[in-house]
Symmetry: C2
Subunit: 211 residues, 2 copies
């Protein structure tokens, strides 16, 4: 095992450090965020920082980078209060990664990468038609993280679209059955294999495997 301290980390070249530190948190949620501006111009961008905040009310957060490097998604959410989060499946992972390119605001990433916008009544933000699990959020709060000029963007789930046959009787969703992916670092994408579901843990009580 090798040990690195703060002085070591400070000597690392910029891209080496970005790759290394981005792998530290482990495998990440990765999804496509769909937005539109007030003129109806669609935007789609890949994010790997979705985080569950609570189920009642259903609150989900994501981290938005400093505004100079990631502006369109953020400004559309601020302007309209609406966005969608769409799972990525292995057959279109390369299209999802391509949305991270810095397109100008007048360009729709949907058309550029070959994904299809899809709309629900009453929601101006586009979903990704190819995604088998996706949800709309209404903006609740943007919390600035002053330490590094990022933002925690918090939304409340207002609509869910899902393939019904992957939802278990107890509400658990078998994401591996539709090849939803996860990511690692800034550029790696993974399929998954279920190890086990385990019963609610209690002191001194053996775990059961949930079939």
């Amino acid at each position: 095992m090798t040990i690195y301290n703060t002085a070591d980390i400070n000597t690392w070249e910029r891209f080496y450090r970005a790759n290394f530190i981005n792998s530290l948190t482990g495998f990440k949620s990765v999804s496509l965020i769909g937005t539109a501006n007030n003129k109806g111009q669609n935007n789609l961008s890949v994010f790997s920082s979705m985080v569950h905040l609570g189920s009642n009310p259903p609150l989900i957060g994501y981290i938005n980078r400093p505004l100079e490097s990631s502006a369109h998604t953020f400004s559309n959410i601020e302007a309209t209060g609406e966005y969608t989060i769409n799972h990525i499946h292995s057959p279109f992972v390369h299209k999802a990664h391509q949305t991270s390119a810095k397109y100008s605001e007048s360009i729709s990433e949907f058309a550029e990468v070959g994904l299809t916008p899809e709309f629900l009544d009453g929601i101006n933000a586009p979903f990704v038609k190819e995604s088998k699990i996706k949800y709309a959020l209404s903006l609740q709060e943007i919390i600035p993280i002053r330490l590094n000029n990022t933002f925690l963007v918090i939304g409340k789930v207002s609509r869910i679209i899902v393939e019904e046959d992957i939802v278990s009787d107890d509400g658990f969703i078998h994401l591996e059955k539709i090849n939803s992916i996860c990511s690692n670092g800034i550029d790696a994408y993974y399929n998954t294999d279920l190890i086990n579901r385990f019963s609610y843990a209690k002191p001194g009580k053996p775990l059961q495997i949930i079939e």
Copy 2:
């Protein structure tokens, strides 16, 4: 595809909703957080809400639940300003899940579940000896999320312990080679298979696969 709206979600039974909403964000980072109180009593608990905030400085956040349901880790971090985050590998996933049981503060989860505390000079929080990638953090800021009484706990990486042979020349860490796992929902754990790493995306430029 089935569509659910807010009224539907509000009718869901509590555990059904928890399972369902927890799966929405997709596969999650999952790790063990190690802390000690001011008397040196160790604590270890599984968390699935680690989120990368930035690489320079190296900042990592996690979401702490409301204090009545998750108090020891949080109070130890508040008291000492130090904690460790330790990857979970498939051979000890059941031990990791068992740390979610509500043990009293005087009990060390290390002893209860059969994992080994390990220490580095100058850091009072325990690492997990069995973990092949782990890091210490110094507390930077606790941001209250008033919408649901949770907290974003932000730390700066101060020490990293890693098996050197899984780190690529460009800093990327092949987490799948050491069977680091990810999670889904509140009780499911997964191994992963690398699909691809892709080159930095630019408009109009085909992606390359990074070998």
